[in-house]
């Protein structure tokens, strides 16, 4: 039996050759259709390729008139590429790698009207509703919460005297309660009739002659009765005194509280209407914020358009894999390694803003790592020897992490005029051409860096009516040059941009000087208004307190009269009666003693006389 089947070899060669020939003749159309179909899937809108031509020396393709329709505006192409020349590495294609040695893109135009309306892929409803708020919206939202415009001093004071009003209300209530307490107590004081009655009773006592013990006893009894009544009234008087004193003391304290309240109101008013560095910074942000954030939104919009293309490029390795488990290509050191997709040199030139632009890309690979060269990017506005803007990028992978570095340098960057309404004032900015410099790094998707914009001369004007307009106008006149720094952080998809500027400081300093005088003047007016308002508010309370104090004086006078005309008179009479009583008792005692002495003597004399008679009889 023969070992070989030569007919099989012939068949094999014929089939392989046939495939090669067919491929050579039809590869142009296949590539054209392939780009259009996959482009439609990725772009969500029609992608048309005018022609694709295979060239053999060098091996590559020449594509012309590539129209990428705008899915949001099908009447226009978002990008029109007039010509793309690709030089590819054919052996690497057989290895499953797309290695482009050189690509040149020329005649790039954007937003070009199409001859016919493009087909657009139907969007899912979820996509329509997923509209995240733009940065500009956020800025607008923040702008709504900007500086409080200072109201007139009177308006500010009327809206800021709550503490004083409360204190006055409390004082009025306290004084009213005190008045009622005093009036209630006064009814317990001896009346004029009582006083007359006392006087009458005292006069009656005085008429009694204190020449006998009977009269003295009678006077003492009457005085005791009067003293008892006086003691009762005196007790009532002490109660009234205490009540009146307490009422007056409480009222005085309440009025003292009124004096403290305006201080609290004043502090609150100053806190509500501060003038400090923060408010000046907000003014500057309001002035500059829109311009920058609108540009950032534009950049993000372009990135969103480019993202599906980038994603497709990155996932090309996966899509080539069969339905079986994908496996992995293990890479080894190589002097000229090739990734699944690799672009050695790319050049895109186009005209925008009346400037020639050039984008060059070197060593762009779908696989980044130790075995691959870092990717170099350069975006340049102007010619190489007279570049107005240059952005260089270095996309590398270090220690297993993607490390991308972008450096910016440029001069004469145009910024359009901006205007903003602030506190009834129109702020207008006509910037001169700016210089830009900066560096941004992305480590594993985390951004970090700073871009500085230097404005060598600026025309800032503030117009409008009112004090605020003049106030801002004087401040912005002092600003001639300033720098804006944009600190970048966050991630590629969600960058955080922190805008800082020495304009803030300059405006702040200018505002601080100019505004301080205005503010102090406003504060002085507000203080006067507050004092007047406090005076007006506390007037009823002060009058009520005066009334209360007059009432207390009346009470004290009545008590004084009672004490003078009744109590002292009664005490005087009591003393007099006691003195007379003592005098009489002493006289009676002396007379009694003298009588006893006389009786005793008479008895003794009589005894002596009887004894003499007896002796005579006995001596007889």
């Amino acid at each position: 039996m023969k070992l070989f089947r030569w007919g099989g070899l012939i068949g094999f060669v014929v089939i392989v050759a046939l495939i090669g020939v067919i491929g050579f003749f039809f590869i142009d159309d296949w590539a054209k259709k392939g780009i259009e179909v996959s482009g439609f899937q990725v772009n969500q809108a029609e992608v048309d390729v005018g022609s694709v031509r295979l060239s053999l020396n060098p091996i590559g393709f020449e594509l012309s008139n590539i129209q990428i329709a705008d899915p949001d505006k099908p009447t226009h192409d978002s990008v029109l590429l007039e010509r793309i020349n690709l030089e590819v590495n054919l052996p690497q294609l057989f290895l499953g790698n797309v290695r482009i040695h050189d690509v040149t893109v020329a005649g790039v135009q954007s937003d070009v009207k199409r001859a016919n309306i493009a087909r657009v892929m139907e969007k899912k409803p979820a996509d329509e509703t997923a509209t995240a708020p733009t940065t500009k919206d956020k800025v607008e939202e923040k702008a709504a919460a900007l500086v409080n415009q200072l109201p007139t001093p009177k308006e500010a004071v009327l809206a800021q005297v709550q503490n004083t009003q409360t204190a006055v209300k409390n004082a009025e209530q306290t004084i009213s309660d005190s008045k009622q307490a005093v009036e209630s107590s006064i009814t317990k004081l001896p009346t004029d009739d009582d006083l007359a009655s006392y006087k009458k009773r005292i006069a009656e006592i005085k008429q009694i002659e204190l020449d006998s013990l009977e009269n003295i006893k009678k006077s003492t009894d009457l005085l005791g009765s009067v003293s008892k009544d006086v003691a009762t009234d005196k007790l009532a008087i002490e109660t009234v005194k205490r009540s009146v004193n307490n009422a007056v003391r409480d009222s005085k304290n309440a009025v003292t509280d009124i004096a403290k309240a305006p201080g609290q109101d004043w502090q609150a008013l100053k806190e509500k209407y501060p003038l400090n560095k923060d408010t000046a910074l907000k003014v500057a942000r309001r002035l500059l914020g829109d311009n920058f954030f609108v540009r950032i939104d534009q950049a993000k919009g372009w990135y969103e358009k480019a993202r599906p293309w980038l994603a497709r490029l990155k996932s090309s390795e996966d899509e080539n894999a069969p339905e079986r488990l994908a496996g992995e290509y293990i890479r080894f050191p190589h002097p000229d390694p090739t990734a699944a997709f690799q672009l050695d040199h790319g050049k895109v030139s186009f005209t925008a803003d009346n400037w020639p632009w050039l984008l060059t890309i070197n060593d762009l690979t779908s696989h980044r790592g130790d075995f691959f060269k870092p990717t170099h990017l350069l975006l340049q506005r102007g010619t190489t020897d007279n570049a107005a803007l240059k952005i260089t990028g270095l996309l590398d992978r270090v220690d297993g992490k993607n490390l991308d570095t972008f450096e910016f340098s440029g001069r004469g960057i145009d910024f359009s005029s901006q205007s903003a309404e602030l506190a009834g004032t129109t702020l207008k900015w006509v910037p001169e051409k700016a210089d830009v410099s900066g560096k941004i790094t992305s480590t594993a998707g985390q951004l970090n860096g700073k871009v500085s914009l230097m404005f060598p001369q600026n025309n800032l004007t503030a117009s409008g009516s009112g004090a605020t307009a003049g106030y801002l106008a004087r401040a912005v006149q002092k600003v001639k040059t300033f720098q804006i720094d944009i600190a970048v952080s966050g991630t590629l998809l969600k960058p955080n941009l922190q805008l800082t500027s020495d304009l803030d400081n300059q405006l702040s300093d200018a505002l601080a000087g100019i505004a301080k005088a205005e503010y102090e003047s406003w504060l002085a007016d507000a203080r006067t208004q507050l004092d007047d308002e406090v005076q007006r508010l506390r007037k009823p309370a002060d009058e009520a307190l005066n009334t209360l104090e007059r009432r207390r004086t009346e009470v004290e006078e009545r008590i004084q009269r009672f004490e003078t005309e009744v109590e002292q008179e009664v005490r005087s009479l009591e003393n007099k009666v006691k003195t007379e009583q003592k005098r009489l008792q002493d006289r009676i005692a002396a007379e009694k003693k003298a009588a006893e002495e006389a009786a005793k003597k008479a008895a003794q004399d009589k005894a002596k006389e009887g004894l003499g008679n007896l002796k005579d009889k006995i001596g007889f």
Binding site: G8, L9, F12, P91, G327, Y329
Partner: protein, 167 residues
Amino acid sequence: MDPILKLLKALNSEIGPWQISCGGALSMIIGFTPLWSVHNLLVLLLALILRVHLATFFVFWGVFSGMAYLMDPWFDQIGRTLLTNESLQPFWTSLYQSDFWQMMHFNHTITLGSLVVSIIGFVPAAILFRLGVVQYRAYMLPYINKLRVVQLLKGTKFYQLYERLSD
């Protein structure tokens, strides 16, 4: 249907057992390894120019391709172990310098793992196939021919088709 009928015919005919078993063993390589690999062109070429039984080759290509889905994780593990083995690094690195070897996708874990398994298993598989054919013809074929079911089948259109192909 045709390749299956031809395989049945081959089993029941006088075709050499080695022709059938080599066809089966070659199909194991092309079935186990990823289809779009350059070495499969060589396998296909061998299958065409060597006098192996082509019907067996195509039938078992499908069978082994199905098995490959289940065995891919194992192939991946074997390939990865070999490619990351420290002592083999100089060898793989030297191969990596060549476009030819890169074209062979030797650095792909599943390709290498499945190729190594199928090459190592080629001879044992061929022997097992041959043993199977011989044993089938010696013991199974007479027994099958006596079965009532087979007798009934011989009266069907299916058998008539088989007969036509035999001619």
